[in-house]
């Protein structure tokens, strides 16, 4: 006997993500899901973003990156509430992991929650966590072929930060191709060229983000 189903396999996760989203909405928490390959500069960007926005917003961080166990310590040093998620070796953060991490935060007193996802270009894009935006980081040493190889990630992201732009003279990175491929996957993708080392381009990123957060909070 045939039984018609037609259901997304990740439906259960989507529902948990929607519950998280409801909770964030009630508390007016803007949530960023930050994704990239290992070492592209996620933690560095989180640090830079905290430094730029900490006087304006109450910020919390969830660390899911398994590559570097020091990430949560780096954030804690800045006196920012941070939880390290134990993904149990999983290649992504799912909605339930976020739900379990939330009791650590006083959501009513949080404006911005940054989730640093596991360093991986394949899986995290498929798993919603209840975020407002997915933000993707691509670093110049990784090469410009990434949008073509991992299209979903770029389609799902609201903004792409091309990081380590200071290394352009030393690495073989075709900036034009990366941007063209990324935009052809997602025509409204906002692209920033930044360096978390020199801070180049970061003002444009933080003011774009500020506009979004303020619009959300209104």
């Amino acid at each position: 006997m045939k039984v018609s189903v037609v259901k997304n396999v990740l439906d259960a996760n989507d529902r948990i993500a929607a519950d998280n989203r409801e909770l964030f909405d009630r508390n007016k928490v803007y949530v960023i899901n930050l994704m990239s390959s290992p070492g592209a500069g996620k933690t560095s960007l989180v640090e830079r973003t905290i430094m730029a926005l900490r006087n304006k917003y109450k910020i919390g961080v969830i660390e899911g990156d398994i590559q570097d166990t020091y990430d949560a310590d780096r954030i804690a040093k800045l006196n920012i509430p941070v939880v390290q998620i134990n993904t149990g070796g999983a290649c992504h953060i799912d909605g339930n992991m976020i739900r379990e991490a939330l009791p650590t935060f006083d959501l009513s007193k949080t404006d911005l929650l940054i989730v640093e996802n596991v360093g991986n270009l394949v899986c995290p894009a498929e798993f919603k966590i209840g975020e407002n935006v997915k933000i993707m980081l691509l670093s110049t040493p990784e090469g410009a072929d990434k949008p073509a190889k991992y299209p979903l990630m770029f389609q799902e992201s609201a903004a792409l930060l091309i990081n380590k732009i200071d290394l352009i003279p030393y690495v073989d990175f075709d900036l034009k191709k990366a941007k063209r491929d990324a935009l052809s996957l997602h025509k409204d993708l906002k692209i920033f060229e930044v360096s978390c080392k020199t801070a180049a381009g970061l003002d444009a990123w933080t003011s774009w983000l500020t506009k979004r957060i303020d619009a959300f909070k209104k």
């Binding site: 396999v9 899986c123 052809s184």
Partner: protein, 114 residues
């Protein structure tokens, strides 16, 4: 890696339907996903076999309907199926293209059950 999670999610959905529709054995499950969505059907099959032991879906086969990667080129105004994606039209070399299909997420379409 996420194939483990996907296999578990498939089994949960099967279990839900088994309870609702009172079937005890699943013979096959038809799934679909876009060819660029980074799902390894072999790994998924393996993860599923392992986790389906002692459930109604033990020994059920997974069948895949893989949806093609399609680009639309604004220069030649055509839709073309491609193997791998690049923002250049393989026909005319035009750079104004968009991806219109190929990243569809994993879905269960139907099951064959007893």
């Amino acid at each position: 890696m996420h194939e483990l999670y996907l296999a578990e999610s498939i089994l949960n959905i099967v279990q839900e339907y088994a309870t609702l529709q009172h079937f005890s054995k699943v013979n096959s499950i038809l799934l679909s996903f876009g060819r660029l969505s980074c799902i390894e059907s072999k790994s998924l099959q393996f993860a599923f076999e392992v986790q389906a032991k002692n459930t109604s879906a033990e020994n059920a086969s997974l069948d895949f309907q893989i949806l093609p990667a399609i680009i639309h080129c604004f220069s030649c105004e055509k839709d073309l199926e491609v193997e791998t994606y690049s923002a250049i039209c393989p026909k005319c070399g035009g750079e104004e293209v968009i991806l219109t299909g190929g990243t569809e997420e994993l879905q269960i379409l139907e099951m064959d059950v007893d």
